[in-house]
């Protein structure tokens, strides 16, 4: 090979290496050297940064976003990505806990409240989550597209994450439709808007109208939205804002309060870094149905009453990786300022810390007088301190996300699905094996059983195939109006399963899960039920509301033992109603102890029974101790007398 050839090869290889590496290196460099935006790093000043800012439109493909002026034509809704992203790293924020559910790289942590798919006619209450929490199904797994998910649960979605990510399951029409509706960007205002006129309920209305692009603006006091993207054709262009031919169909549009705009088209937005509890409550309320609709009778969490807010403990930095507050949480394991943001951390401090950490935020130090330490090894703090006082039967709860609380037109019936029971004391989902109070949901859904695994079938599919044999609306009108189960008979289930079997394409036998059982047809075509792990309830632990210490389990000295250690104690023997639409399964209950793995019900009963004799035991041992001490004293004094005589020379 001559020199010129070698030179050419060398040049070609060098060029190839440079071609591949330079963009990578420069890209990596760009990432590492990415300048933090002006709002990403605070200077330490504790006062509230005032946000007098330009509102910015969504960026059209290939174009820059523009500043919104009140006389723009057409007026566009502001884009949180562009408006807030001007000074804050939107991409970093979108990795935060509220937005990263669909990210497979994120540690799912302790199972939390799932989204619950409800369909009354098909008697479906199905726990869903993008996080791989055991017992919850992934929307993708059941064939639910992003668009369907948003329309079902967008009312309480914070936007971003899965709501913005491309959906490989989406039909082309859904992708096209997104150009009309826009995307559900992170709604920063949902949490950070301190304006009392902020109306988060409007967010749900906009989602129902497919106004995803307009949803965040609609919640703000300085903007109002009318029209519905749902009524617009796929060809409608929101950036042109043309009215459709049909005058009855109003295109979505936003109008701003012009008085809010300065001469520089800046708007004052009352942004609060320290989010108020009111904002959190929109998505994180729990209503105890034992008060019926008289919610004013319920007390709030004692921490709120003491002057704290949710974000005093549930903190996050710029990355919005909010601290969930349980011991052993994956994030911030080595940072004592984060690990002490737990019940134990604040009240008792961090063991092994080089400085005192107890009493954070003014947390009183508990003494737990008379409580054997074994309780702290077997129970979480919340077991004794959180939720309603356990009764003979579990309470029924409604939550914002499960029942759409706070939205307009929500069913206020106490019987509305999903049926969530609490407090259920179990360690089933606890990483440390401690018993904690949980909320519980009995899954009910139609599915396919293949290789021992049940995959849910969407209610729409069931209705399409077996709509005619589902329980009648007329017969169940009262129940359906209350949002409750229709009454299913075993014949109903068998009929539906037969219909589904008729269109079965060999992907496993159809089954119905409810009441903790799997129902299926046997070879003779009769309905049989059997136990199956999928039918077991989905449970997730809760920590709020925390009761005052004087209302915790075990308080009040020896009488406190009786709270859990008697033969009828709800902690062990409380009745957990097995919820089911099937009439034959009504009234079925399980005892709390059945939910506690490794706890023998007979033993606990006998152990609790022994507490009847405990006062006698204490009295016996104390009296015996006194008598023995008396003998020791008597003989000891006699001995001393003898010694005194001896030392005095008396034989």
């Amino acid at each position: 090979m001559d020199k010129s050839k070698i030179k050419n090869v060398f040049l070609a290889v060098s060029a190839a290496v440079l071609f591949v590496c330079v963009p990578i290196l420069s890209g990596a460099g760009a990432d590492n050297d990415k300048e933090p935006k002006i709002g990403d790093i605070g200077d330490g000043n504790r006062s509230r940064p005032v946000h007098v800012i330009n509102l910015r439109t969504e960026a059209e493909e290939g174009e820059e976003s523009s500043v919104i002026a009140p006389d723009d034509e057409p007026l566009m809704p502001f884009s949180p990505r562009q408006t807030c992203g001007e000074c804050h790293d939107y991409e970093a924020i979108s990795q935060g806990w509220h937005f990263n559910a669909a990210d497979p790289c994120v540690d799912a942590g302790l199972p939390g409240e799932p989204w619950i798919l409800i369909d009354l006619l098909t008697a479906t209450q199905l726990p869903l989550s993008y996080r791989p929490w055991p017992g919850a199904f992934s929307p993708k797994e059941i064939g639910m597209t992003k668009s369907q998910f948003i329309r079902q649960f967008g009312r309480h979605l914070p936007g971003g994450g899965a709501a913005e990510a491309p959906d490989e399951n989406a039909a082309p029409s859904e992708i096209m439709r997104e150009l009309v509706t826009g995307q559900l960007e992170i709604n920063c205002m949902a949490c950070h808007d301190g304006d009392p006129s902020h109306n988060q309920a409007d967010y749900d209305l906009q989602i129902k109208k497919d106004n995803l692009r307009w949803a965040a603006s609609a919640t703000c006091g300085f903007a109002s939205v009318k029209g519905a993207a749902k009524d617009m054709s796929d060809m409608w262009d929101p950036f042109l804002g043309e009215a459709p031919d049909d005058p009855k169909k109003i295109p979505p549009s936003v109008s701003y309060n012009k008085n809010c705009f300065s001469a520089k088209n800046e708007v004052f937005i009352d942004i609060k870094k320290k989010v108020s509890a009111e904002r959190c409550y929109f998505c994180h309320s729990t209503a105890d149905m034992s008060h019926g609709v008289d919610h004013w009778k319920a007390d709030e969490d004692i921490h709120l009453k003491a002057g704290l807010t949710c974000v005093d403990c549930h903190r996050n930095g710029m990355n919005h990786a909010i601290n969930r507050g349980y011991e052993g949480e994956p994030s911030g394991q080595n940072d004592v300022s984060i690990t002490t943001l737990t019940c134990k951390g604040c009240h008792l401090g961090e063991e092994g810390s080089d400085h005192p950490t107890a009493g954070r935020l003014g947390a009183p130090m508990p003494t737990h007088k008379g409580i054997p330490t074994v309780h702290f090894e077997k129970l979480t703090c919340t077991a004794c301190h959180s939720g309603p006082w356990p009764g003979e039967k579990v309470h029924h709860a409604k939550t914002s996300r499960a029942h759409g609380l706070g939205t307009i037109g929500v069913n206020k019936s106490t019987e509305a699905l999903p049926h969530i029971s609490y407090p259920v004391f179990t360690e089933a989902k606890q990483h440390d094996g401690k018993i904690a109070p949980h909320k519980l949901l009995w899954p009910a859904f139609w599915g396919r059983l293949k290789d021992g695994k049940v995959t849910p079938v969407l209610p729409d599919v069931v209705k399409k195939v077996a709509g005619k044999v589902l329980p009648g609306i007329k017969e169940n009108i009262k129940r359906l109006r209350a949002g409750n189960w229709p009454e299913y008979t075993t014949e109903n289930i068998a009929d539906v399963l037969k219909k589904l079997a008729a269109v079965n394409k060999g992907d496993g036998a159809h089954v119905y899960i409810s009441g903790g059982k799997l129902h299926k047809l046997n070879d003779a075509g009769s309905l049989i039920e059997e136990d199956h792990s999928t039918a077991r309830p989905y449970v997730w632990s809760f920590a709020h509301d925390v009761r005052p210490a004087s209302q915790s389990l075990g308080i009040d000295g020896a009488a406190g033992c009786d709270h859990c250690h008697n033969t009828k104690a709800p902690f062990f023997f409380g009745k957990v109603t097995v919820d089911s639409p099937v009439a034959a399964e009504h009234g079925r209950v399980e005892e709390m102890v059945d939910m506690q793995a490794g706890v023998d019900g007979n033993y606990i009963w006998a152990f609790n029974m022994s507490f009847i004799f405990r006062p006698w035991m204490k009295a016996t041992v104390l009296i015996a101790s006194m008598i023995l001490a008396g003998f020791l004293l008597l003989f000891g004094l006699k001995g001393l007398g003898k010694l005194a005589k001896f030392t005095a020379g008396d034989n």
């Binding site: 000295g557 020896a558 204490k618 015996a624």
Partner: protein, 215 residues
């Protein structure tokens, strides 16, 4: 740590018993020319010779011993072999036997305190020990056995107080978490000492009875 203490404690007790047995055997051999001293009687013979009161005393001893064994086994087994805290049916058995032992100890003190008080002979024996006088070997072992029996009796009674109070006080709303932990550890360690002295007392009481050491 506690497991090591348990092993050491039990080894000390066994060593003490072995040493005592060895010295006993040597003396008995010398006295009887190699044959066993025919002072040991069968249980039936012993019972037949006893009065009603003495039988009651024996029953008290027996009940105390049984409770003692039950409590020691249920308490030490998990600490020794599983490392887990006492729980489950063992805990229930432990808690059931404990007040019975307390009552038995009171009864035992009532019926044997006078017999186990230190008297002039113990004092003489101690004086002999300290003045290096030679004396009859059988008399020595007899006196030493009796003195040690008395020592362990009173030690056992003394140690029973912290053993019982440490656990019963933890059931009252007096001590917080750190106090509870302290009481739990006090219970464990005092129990070890209590069991050691109790075991040695039992052994010496049986030997005294069997060999008819009259005091």
């Amino acid at each position: 740590m506690y497991r090591i203490c348990l092993v050491i404690g039990f080894m000390l007790v066994l060593t003490a018993i072995a040493l005592h047995q060895k010295s006993m055997r040597d003396i008995i051999k010398v006295k009887s020319g190699g044959n066993r001293v025919p002072t040991q009687k069968s249980l039936v013979q012993i019972i037949m010779q006893k009065s009603f009161g003495q039988i009651i005393v024996m029953l008290i001893h027996l009940a105390t011993f049984l409770c003692f064994v039950v409590l020691a086994v249920t308490g030490f087994y998990p600490a020794m072999f599983t490392g887990e805290p006492l729980s489950g049916y063992s805990l229930m058995l432990h808690a059931t036997a404990s007040p019975v032992l307390a009552v038995c100890l009171v009864a035992l003190v009532l019926v044997t305190a006078q017999r186990n008080r230190f008297d002039r002979k113990d004092w003489d024996h101690l004086q002999m020990c300290f003045s290096w006088k030679t004396f009859d070997e059988h008399g020595t072992i007899s006196s030493a056995t009796v003195i040690w029996r008395k020592v362990f009796f009173w030690l056992m009674i003394l140690l029973s107080l912290p053993v019982m109070l440490s656990i019963v006080l933890s059931m009252f709303p007096i001590f917080g978490t750190s106090g509870q932990e302290l009481l739990y550890h006090l219970h464990r360690y005092f129990t070890l000492l209590f069991v050691m002295s109790g075991a040695l007392f039992c052994y010496l009481a049986i030997v005294s009875q069997a060999c008819q050491f009259t005091r």
